[in-house]
């Protein structure tokens, strides 16, 4: 009754429950109780009816009893004293001749979760363990686990533990599995339930009696067992062979998990188990439930890490269905990319081509980048498709294609002639900043081979005032400079205009700085400029790509059949670590990463501009060295934060570090001389807290080179007044500064 307020409802319900006429008619009584529960599940607070409901508990009607128990278990914590009244009824029910009533009473007695009731519950639980009916024993066994959970500190009776161990031999399989679960909880501190040889063999023998849920649970517990000899191991494995190809995905997955953990030392056996399990896994990929499909796909991705060629013949099973949700389509494409081989590449690319025009732009982009991935080994065919897609003249597709081409060029420079030809004809302007950045990078690096490159740049330069993305601006500068070096006649005027605009009118410090840098660089002459600008065009270390080597199973075995593979995409977008590492040094990867081929100063300016918004650092009012020393040595007034930053060798000079720290508004106060070990830096900054004034942060960086394998900088920070959030933020800024510094050192060396 929505028009009644909560209080009104409760009053109304109380009247109904207390009405003697209702009491005399069991059906009306039950309906009254039902209304209470309905109100409860709709979110009305009906705890005021507790005493009425306790009275209604004394009934022979099982449905009513069950309803009341739902109520009591939800509100027992609010009314511990009144709950004592229920105990008597419950204890009486535990003696009932009907096993269903007994198990119901026992279950709800333990579900009340009141430590004051423990003494009343123990006796019925002990009796429950020896009950004739299996359903009562099931409840009683888990009851002990609940009891232990309620008072984790109390000693558990050794007799009960023994009884539970002996119940592992109970004729009812659910009781057996419940015993395992209960013992696991009760003996958590001692390392859980003991799985020794007799128990293992007992469990294996009874595996067939359990339903699929029980089997999964038992298989999971068996992972803990270490077979004593190889013969025993193989006996166990051959016993489990049937479950390995079980039509129920949970059983199959649990068995594979057990195989992997038992065969940790025998990788060949593990691999052959995986080969055997591929059938059921493939079947799960075609399951009617899309969630199950997704789970199976994620696990197939795991499998492929160790057995790259495994499912090549079954690639058609991973073709996307028309009505499948985007997340399944994208997973399937990731699998398809792994399965490509000489036989299926034509069919596969043909299929992929169809996905590129998907209505969902995310799926379309995923398909395009998947084709790019295949292009690393089959570049001609893939490029043909990519070039064709440019013809569609669709904004999101063009942008994705251009980005894919750039990534492909980075890995396979031999594709450059085709790409240059295609870019020659690509005329559209893209809305997407990432796409424009990719296009500019290619125009800069391969400008001498694209005859129309200056005209394309001209479009950008004419429109420079409307450009908003800092990443595109920087890329435009670099591309114009590079192109100027190889085609000075066409570019001179344009570059002049661009530099003039950026130096005079640009508000973004980072872009302006870079423009200034290039301007000064041009004064140093052509050779110098070339030295700085001609960075790497591709990653020679990748060479001919033959796919990632097969990983050993042990690298992912622990995450098999857990939620981790399903979550992975959120944390690790690329499953191939060494490839993504290689791409990380791609100079135009994203606007968030600083272009590696500009000077450290501009990089840091870039950093300030991006981090200026959330927190503002300032060095004023200045702190005198004396005051710093006083504050630093002042005992406990501040908060200390110690941390170790993993850094590459820290080989920059004190001056450059000071300069870069100043850029982010951190003042360095003192250095130890360059050759002294450990090398120390003292620094301070003030951080603006929103409306609460500011906080002062003092810091000490210590760089020891005693242990050369541990190249770390130790950071000690003191803060006044304390504010954890800003401290963390500061630490991250500091980390970035140090990191940029050390990495730019490397890139500078490269140049």
């Amino acid at each position: 009754m929505p028009y009644l307020s909560g209080e009104e409802t409760v009053k109304e319900l109380r009247r109904a429950l207390c009405n003697p006429n209702v009491h005399s008619d069991p059906l009306r009584h039950r309906n009254a109780v039902l209304r209470v529960i309905r109100a409860m599940s709709q979110g009305v607070d009906v705890s005021a009816l507790f005493s009425e409901m306790v009275k209604a508990c004394a009934t022979v009607d099982i449905v009513q009893k069950k309803l009341i128990y739902i109520f009591l278990c939800s509100y027992a914590a609010v009314n511990p004293e009144l709950s004592l009244l229920v105990i008597n009824t419950l204890r009486k029910d535990c003696q009932d001749p009907n096993p269903m009533v007994r198990s119901l009473a026992l279950r709800n007695m333990t579900n009340l979760r009141l430590s004051s009731l423990v003494e009343y519950v123990e006796q019925p639980l002990i009796a429950g363990l020896r009950d004739r009916a299996a359903c009562v024993r099931r409840v009683a066994v888990l009851g002990w686990a609940k009891l232990h959970d309620l008072q984790p500190d109390s000693e558990i009776d050794a007799a009960v533990v023994n009884e539970l161990y002996s119940l592992l031999r109970d004729p009812d399989p659910v009781v057996m599995v419940n015993c395992l679960r209960a013992l696991e909880g009760i003996l958590k501190e001692e390392g859980g339930v003991v799985i020794n040889k007799p128990i293992t063999h007992h469990l294996l023998n009874r595996l067939k009696e359990c339903d699929i849920w029980g089997q999964c649970e038992v298989l999971k517990f068996l992972q803990r067992y270490q077979p004593q000899s190889e013969d025993e191991l193989f006996d166990i494995l051959s016993l489990l062979d049937a479950s390995l190809v079980s039509p129920h995905p949970p059983v199959m997955a649990a068995t594979v998990g057990l195989f992997l953990s038992l065969c940790g030392s025998l990788p060949a056996v593990g691999l052959s188990a995986l080969r055997r399990a591929q059938g059921p896994l493939l079947a799960a990929c075609g399951s009617g439930s899309r969630e199950m499909r997704f789970t199976a796909l994620c696990h197939i991705q795991l499998l492929l890490r160790s057995l790259p060629g495994l499912l090549g013949a079954h690639y058609k099973r991973f073709f996307c269905g028309y009505a499948e949700p985007a997340f399944i389509k994208q997973r399937k494409m990731k699998v398809l990319v792994e399965l490509v081989n000489d036989d299926n590449v034509a069919m596969l690319l043909d299929e992929m081509k169809g996905y590129c025009t998907d209505v969902n732009p995310d799926t379309a982009q995923a398909a395009i980048s998947a084709i790019g991935h295949i292009g690393r080994s089959y570049s001609d065919r893939s490029l043909e498709i990519l070039v064709g897609l440019l013809g569609l003249k669709q904004d999101h597709i063009t942008s994705a294609v251009v980005q894919t081409m750039r990534d492909l060029l980075w890995v396979c420079p031999q594709c450059s002639s085709t790409v240059c030809l295609a870019l020659e004809e690509c005329e559209d302007t893209m809305q997407d900043a990432q796409g424009r950045q990719a296009l500019l990078w290619m125009l800069g690096v391969y400008g001498e081979r694209i005859s129309s490159a200056p005209y394309k740049l001209e479009v950008f330069i004419d429109d420079v005032r409307n450009e908003t993305s800092a990443g595109v601006k920087l890329e435009l500068l670099t591309a114009s400079m590079r192109l100027f070096l190889c085609r000075p006649a066409e570019m001179q005027d344009m570059l002049g205009r661009l530099l003039h605009h950026y130096i005079e009118e640009e508000t973004d410090m980072c872009v302006r700085d870079q423009a200034l840098l290039y301007y000064r660089l041009l004064h140093c002459g052509k050779e110098e400029t070339e030295k700085v600008l001609q960075g790497r065009r591709s990653d020679p270390s990748l060479g001919v790509l033959i796919g990632p080597p097969a990983e050993s199973i042990s690298q992912w075995a622990h995450s098999f059949n857990t939620l981790a593979p399903l979550l992975q995409s959120t944390f690790k977008p690329d499953s191939k670590p060494q490839l993504s590492d290689a791409l990380r040094c791609d100079p135009v990867e994203t606007s968030g990463k600083t272009p590696a081929d500009c000077s450290p100063i501009t990089q840091l300016a870039f950093l300030t501009s991006s981090s200026a918004a959330p927190l503002s650092l300032s060095v004023s009012p200045a702190l005198s060295p004396e005051k710093f020393e006083r504050l630093w040595l002042q005992p406990r007034a501040q908060h200390d934060e110690h941390g170790k930053l993993q850094q590459t060798v820290f080989q920059c000079s004190a001056q450059s570090l000071q300069a870069s720290l100043q850029l982010v508004n951190v003042q360095t106060l003192a250095f130890t001389p360059a050759h002294a070990r450990p090398w120390k830096v003292y620094l301070y900054t003030r951080m603006q807290l929103d409306s609460r004034g500011s906080t002062l942060i003092l810091g000490e960086l210590v760089h020891c080179e005693e242990e050369p394998e541990e190249k770390t900088v130790r950071v000690t920070l003191r803060q006044q007044p304390r504010d954890d959030e800003t401290l963390k933020a500061f630490l991250s800024i500091l980390t970035t500064v140090l990191h940029t510094h050390s990495s730019s050192n490397e890139t500078l060396k490269d140049i």
């Binding site: 849920w213 997955a253 649990a254 009505a323 997340f327 399903l566 959120t570």
Partner: protein
């Protein structure tokens, strides 16, 4: 181990919430709904993380069935369990929808209580559960003035009652307690996924099928289902010539006894009340007959700058078969403004859906051996020759009643003990399109 179970409607209304481990934190439901609705399109929604708690959910009947759990639980188990739970609720309540769940909350609480204890799965077998479940299902059948087909004049039985109404199989299993009809349904359901290349070559053809038994017979101890005698599994076992029915992989429910299967292709089982998937099978890369539909498209630009799409669709089913609710989706170039159409019969419809960039052509009934055609003219402002490339693969969705793509048939269905005459046995065949794509 499952910590909480909750059911949400698609709009986020709380329908049901049960906690198993004594951690009262009902805010989780709202957290979940916010997370699942705020998820960007390219992120998989099945598993989501909130602090140290993981949400695993499935969508069934338009509802969210959510379990919260810890990181080390098996996703296969939890997802299978949630699917099983929704199937159980469907068995007990009839149809899965919002009203049915709210009406039957007491029953579902009772069910959850028996199925899970302390977060551990106890049993999901409807045979065992039926001894414990006491609440009667409330069936929310609305009285419909227009649906008088089953009520004869002056209460007399009409011819209609000889035919099972389509909702017959979606009723609560407990209905039979109060003298409901005792019935058994054996459904052979197949899903086709087919890709046909632009040159008409069959590039991929998979059929996934299952035999489902829905039993509403309280006193039936055993049923025997006879399949085609020429039924063979795997590539090597070709048994003779002629109309052999072949599947690649086949798996059975554990309750099925296969002692007569090898020689006579008979499945024996003791059915439990409710729904049971008896057998699942898969046929890949091969169809025993021609694919049911062929498409002959012509796509060109006319002088007025309009895009002309002429589709000729042929149904290669046997002449006495029919395809229902056929729906062809033809992707069209971006920026299509309006559609003019010429269809070959008045019951067909076609419309342009700009949001999904497609023309959808609906054919309610399509007889085997016939051919239909459609002419679409699309106005597209800046049509280029490249735009023709965007007229991409045509997808068909359809339903083929009384037909299986593999040719699997149920030879007989015998019940023992012999059931009284008013019991009814139904065998139904249907093939759905899982994904039927024709490239152009």
């Amino acid at each position: 181990m499952i910590h909480q179970i909750f059911i949400l409607s698609s709009k986020g209304d709380h329908l049901l919430y049960k906690d198993f481990r004594g951690e009262t934190c009902s805010d989780l439901v709202n957290v979940f709904y916010e997370m699942v609705t705020a998820l960007p399109g390219d992120q998989p929604p099945v598993v989501m993380r909130h602090k140290d708690r993981y949400f695993v959910h499935v969508r069934q009947g338009g509802l969210f069935w959510v379990a919260t759990t810890t990181a080390d639980s098996s996703p296969f188990t939890i997802i299978e369990f949630l699917n099983r739970l929704s199937a159980l609720v469907k068995d007990y309540c009839g149809v899965l929808n919002e009203t049915n769940i709210t009406e039957n909350f007491a029953l579902i609480y009772e069910l959850l209580d028996e199925v899970l204890d302390y977060g551990y799965i106890q049993t999901t077998s409807s045979d065992i559960l039926k001894n414990f479940i006491q609440t009667e299902a409330v069936s929310s059948k609305q009285f419909n003035l227009f649906d008088l087909s089953n009520v004869g004049l002056f209460g007399a039985d009409t011819q209609q009652s000889k035919v099972a109404p389509s909702t017959a199989a979606t009723r609560p299993i407990q209905g039979s307690r109060e003298g409901g009809k005792s019935e058994i349904f054996v459904d052979v359901i197949e899903r086709m996924s087919v890709v046909i290349g632009s040159n008409g070559v069959l590039m991929k053809a998979d059929v996934e099928g299952e035999i489902r038994v829905k039993c509403y017979m309280p006193n039936c101890s055993e049923i025997r289902i006879g399949l085609n005698e020429e039924f063979s599994i795997g590539k090597s076992q070709l048994r003779g010539y002629g109309a052999a029915v072949r599947v690649d992989e086949c798996s059975f429910h554990q309750a099925v006894r296969l002692d007569e299967f090898d020689n006579h292709r008979i499945l024996r089982l003791s059915p439990s009340q409710g729904e049971l998937t008896v057998m699942q099978y898969l046929l890949s890369d091969e169809l025993p007959s021609a694919p049911p539909f062929r498409l002959f498209p012509t796509i060109e630009r006319d002088k007025g700058g309009r895009l002309i799409v002429y589709l000729k669709l042929r149904c290669d089913l046997p002449p006495n078969s029919v395809a229902l609710n056929l729906c062809a989706t033809v992707p069209v170039p971006r920026g299509s403004l309006s559609l003019s159409q010429e269809l070959s019969s008045p019951d067909q419809r076609a419309e342009l859906r700009p949001e999904s960039r497609a023309v959808v052509w609906n054919i309610p009934r399509f007889a085997g051996g016939t051919q239909l055609s459609a002419l679409f003219k699309l106005d597209i402002p800046d049509l280029s020759s490249a735009s023709l490339l965007e007229v991409g693969p045509v997808s068909l969705s359809f339903e083929l009643p009384k037909l299986t793509a593999t040719g699997l048939q149920i030879r007989f269905l015998r019940l023992s003990p012999i059931q009284p005459s008013q019991s009814q046995r139904w065998v139904r065949y249907v093939t759905h399109s899982d994904s039927y794509t024709i490239r152009v």
